[in-house]
């Protein structure tokens, strides 16, 4: 930290103390990870977005609190052309940019900021594309924005037109994601003139409900309420993130009153938290799925009847009870039940080892040996893959299938599990980015995703299924899309490229006096609506 930065922080601290009313309401969140930076575009971690995109910034469209529905954000409204190729956004007027010691805005938010925010990610030649050497825009790329956005046109100061190369129904959901946060073009030019471009990432300026105050690396992030916020003003005055990586320690801090809310409690602690008179727990089905993906290109797993039989041999409820300690539900579809287009009419394969054994024999499968891959890390959709694999091993042994459990280091696991000719079925899962069904089925099960670099670890390419997805992706009407996705789920269940294992439950423990916290199906932690009662 330079001397200048220290002085600036001291000055802002002083300014804060003097500006604070006598009884400022401070809310402390025991966050689990350090942010990678404060510009949301180059990063991918949820913990980074909770510290940057959600408190500090806004997007053209936003996810409505507690849902995956898209609502107006910095854009007041939008029109979509009949062919679905042009999105024209009417921008909100009178939205103030935040200020800090280095920057006092001279103008409100306008179309230039929108163009700047997208073009810096889109074009390698843009002067801000590499404002920090080696920076990359992974979400912009993985959401296929480079091939989707043909151009972004400024119609006037408060109108922006996005021209697409193809109709894309999830487009609005995509630009509601953190990577599409709108940053200030004016702030960028001030930083450029000062020769401190990297401060866009260190000392963020946004339009959101909270202003960034200071970050002490790996320890504390401080924010203060944005007095000029265009939306409903936050109820708390100060927001503090106390970075606490260990779940057991987070819980102790919460109990001791050192923070008011924590993410990701250990599943084993939930029961005790519920009994604590000073705490309460919000819970909600997570937007995720855990699965076992067969290699559908290899015998005998290329036979859907064999896959179905194996699915029938699996006692999934036992997995939910043992591995999730009840904090989850058995999955029957590849998308979670909280997502629109979830086909509840589908009936899951019934656990029946006797019928499973008979079905395997009918297909001529005898003395089968297979590998089951257990991932080495914990994920919300899979807290203990090794234990899950052991339960599957026991279940399969009952129908005469011998299972060898294998595991690799995480990076290697991700890589090797996507290698063509992979031996064995892989335990993995997915957490949704934007609440669109295509973000599950398209990413994980389409023919395109079965190529190298994709995420279709069953290597399953069913043309009928893929065509339904493509059609749905190009259809704007939600009712029509819903029908197409429902049909796709019927094909999925019939063909069984995966054993769908679970949808886990998310828990958010907090102090009894916290009100107004809304759980996000996308797993975001936002604090603009929280309050503390006495």
């Amino acid at each position: 930290m330079t001397m200048l930065t220290r002085i600036l922080i001291a000055a802002s601290a002083l300014a804060m103390t003097s500006a604070m009313p006598a009884l400022a309401k401070t809310f402390v969140y025991c966050s689990e990870a350090s942010p990678e930076g404060f510009d949301p575009a180059p990063y991918t971690a949820g913990g980074t977005f909770d510290a940057s995109a959600h408190p500090i910034y806004n997007r053209l469209a936003e996810f409505k609190k507690g849902t995956t529905e898209v609502e107006p954000g910095l854009a007041e409204s939008w029109d979509v052309s009949a062919d679905g190729l042009e999105y024209t956004f009417k921008l909100r007027q009178g939205v103030k940019w935040q200020s800090n010691e280095k920057f006092t805005p001279t103008r409100d938010f306008n179309a230039d900021d929108v163009i700047f925010s997208f073009m810096r990610q889109a074009s390698a030649d843009h002067p801000w594309n590499q404002y920090i050497a080696g920076i990359t825009y992974e979400y912009y790329n993985s959401m296929e924005m480079p091939s989707l956005i043909k151009e972004v046109v400024k119609v006037d100061d408060y109108t922006v037109k996005f021209v697409l190369t193809r109709p894309e129904a999830p487009f609005l959901a995509n630009i509601s994601m953190p990577f599409a946060s709108i940053v200030s073009a004016e702030y960028a030019s001030v930083l450029e003139a000062a020769g401190t471009k990297e401060d866009l990432n260190n000392l963020p300026i946004g339009t959101g409900p909270f202003k960034f105050v200071a970050y002490q690396k790996d320890a504390v992030i401080r924010y203060v309420k944005n007095p000029d916020y265009w939306g409903e003003a936050p109820k708390i005055d100060d927001l503090v993130f106390a970075i606490t990586p260990d779940a057991a320690v987070r819980l102790q801090k919460l109990k001791a009153g050192e923070c008011q809310l924590m993410p990701f409690p250990a599943p084993a602690d939930i029961a005790a938290i519920k009994e604590d008179p000073n705490l309460k727990v919000d819970e909600q089905a997570g937007l995720n799925v855990g699965y076992l993906a067969y290699n559908t290109t290899q015998a005998p797993f290329d036979n859907p009847k064999v896959r179905k039989a194996l699915n029938m041999a699996m006692n999934k409820q036992a997995i939910i009870d043992a591995v999730f300690q009840g904090a989850g539900q058995v999955a029957k579809n590849p998308i979670p039940p909280t997502m629109w287009s979830y086909n509840d009419a589908i009936v899951d394969d019934v656990y029946d080892p006797v019928a499973a054994k008979a079905a395997l024999e009918a297909e001529g499968v005898k003395d089968l040996s297979m590998k089951v891959w257990a991932m080495p890390v914990q994920r919300p959709y899979m807290p203990n893959a090794r234990r899950t694999a052991e339960l599957i091993q026991e279940d399969f042994a009952k129908v005469g299938v011998t299972v060898e459990i294998v595991s690799y280091e995480w990076g290697e696991y991700l890589d090797k599990s996507m290698e063509a000719g992979r031996d064995g079925a892989v335990i993995l899962g997915w957490t949704g980015d934007n609440g669109d069904p295509d973000n599950f089925m398209g990413v994980l099960l389409s023919c395109a995703s079965a190529q190298p670099g994709g995420a279709n670890r069953a290597f399953w390419c069913n043309q009928e299924f893929s065509d339904l997805l493509s059609k749905a992706k190009q259809t704007a009407d939600v009712a029509e899309r819903t029908k197409l996705y429902e049909q796709a789920q019927v094909i999925f269940k019939d063909q069984a490229p995966w054993a769908t294992l679970d949808h886990s439950t998310q828990y958010v423990p907090m102090a009894k006096n916290v009100t107004g916290f809304v759980m996000s199906p996308l797993g975001d932690y936002t604090f603009d609506t929280v309050d503390l009662t006495e």
Binding site: M1, N141, Q216, Y408
Partner: protein, 335 residues
């Protein structure tokens, strides 16, 4: 004495070169690469993977990458983190004071308790004090730090409410880093109660970090003292009718201190290892936690340069220990 120092310094050169190879090679031997970890479950196309690898310089032959690393090192450039994109040196300097502060307090606790306990156990050899303290030392030495830290938090912070759970200072205090040492900065800030708060936050983590070194130092002091107490000159001193306190304090302890100081010096390395776990559990923003995060993300520049900095530091401490021998024992520096 100058020749003695120069000779010691010369030894450092090959050691340092060796460390650069180990630091550079270590993180690359680990399976999995940073680009794949960044992409996660989503996967990454071979073209994009190649483009990113090229951008980060990982497509070069490994020996060339090593030479480039050395070249930058000689220009004082330790590279930038792949994750935060910030200079490794800047991150190190931000976090390092927290680790030093914790480590210093821990080593002070370990020495201040370990040496007297060891001396007393040696003098009263076979007594109940000897038995109890040496058993406790063995238990302390075998203590899993993570479990021990959590146990202390639950008892002292959770049940008794005497100490804060984690962090370096209460969040109500907010002042800029001047030295990076919270105990000093809290005094400089002039804010009432800040120093007490910083001190109370140091108690549990430093006790946890001190546990293993304390056990080692106590046992080492005891055995060194026992050896020296059996020497002829101690017997002679006693025979002369010298008071026991002078026999122990001057004749025995001074000679017993040489292996003890070696042990204390070696504990710096142990402290660094302990800091990784202690910092993680107490949310202590130091370099131990930084290294763990970077290793799990395969942040090559941080891991290799961070290891180098830590190893350099341990080397420096060992050099100082060597020089201290010279001060304590003239025979060593004249050898």
């Amino acid at each position: 004495m100058i020749r003695f120092i120069l000779g010691k310094l010369l030894y450092l050169v090959p050691t340092f070169v060796g460390i650069t190879i180990i630091a550079f090679g270590f993180v690359r031997i680990l399976p999995g690469d940073p680009v794949l970890l960044m992409a996660g479950e989503r996967g990454i196309s071979p073209e994009r993977h190649a483009a990113l690898s090229a951008q980060l310089g990982f497509d070069q032959p490994i020996w060339l990458q090593y030479l480039q690393f050395l070249g930058r090192l000689f220009h004082g450039d330790l590279g930038n983190s792949l994750v935060t994109k910030k200079p490794v040196m800047a991150e190190f300097l931000t976090l390092f004071p927290a680790t030093v502060e914790l480590g210093l307090v821990a080593i002070i606790i370990a020495t201040a308790i370990g040496v007297p306990v060891g001396v007393l156990a040696a003098i009263k050899r076979g007594s109940w004090f000897d038995q109890v303290s040496m058993t406790a030392a063995l238990v302390g030495f075998s203590m899993p730090i993570f479990w021990w830290g959590l146990l202390l938090i639950i008892f002292f912070s959770g049940i008794l409410g005497w100490t804060p759970v984690s962090g370096r200072i209460s969040l109500i205090y907010f002042f800029p880093d001047v030295t990076g040492f919270m105990l000093i900065d809290s005094i400089i800030s002039g804010q009432k109660g800040a120093f007490t708060s910083a001190l109370s936050h140091l108690i549990l983590p430093s006790v946890v970090l001190a546990t293993i070194p304390l056990a080692v130092i106590a046992r080492q002091t005891r055995s060194a003292m026992l050896e020296v107490m059996g020497e002829d000159y101690v017997r002679t001193a006693r025979a002369k009718g010298m008071p026991p306190s002078r026999v122990v304090g001057v004749h025995a302890l001074r000679n017993a201190m040489i292996p003890v100081i070696t042990t204390i010096g070696l504990q710096i390395g142990v402290l660094m290892a302990g800091a990784i776990l202690t910092e993680t559990i107490f949310s202590w923003p130091g370099i131990g936690k930084w290294m763990i995060d970077s290793i799990s993300r395969r942040d090559y520049p941080v891991v290799q340069s961070g290891l180098l900095l830590i190893a350099g530091l341990v080397m420096l401490v060992n050099l100082l220990v060597d020089l201290t021998y010279g001060l304590i024992n003239p025979r060593i520096r004249h050898k």
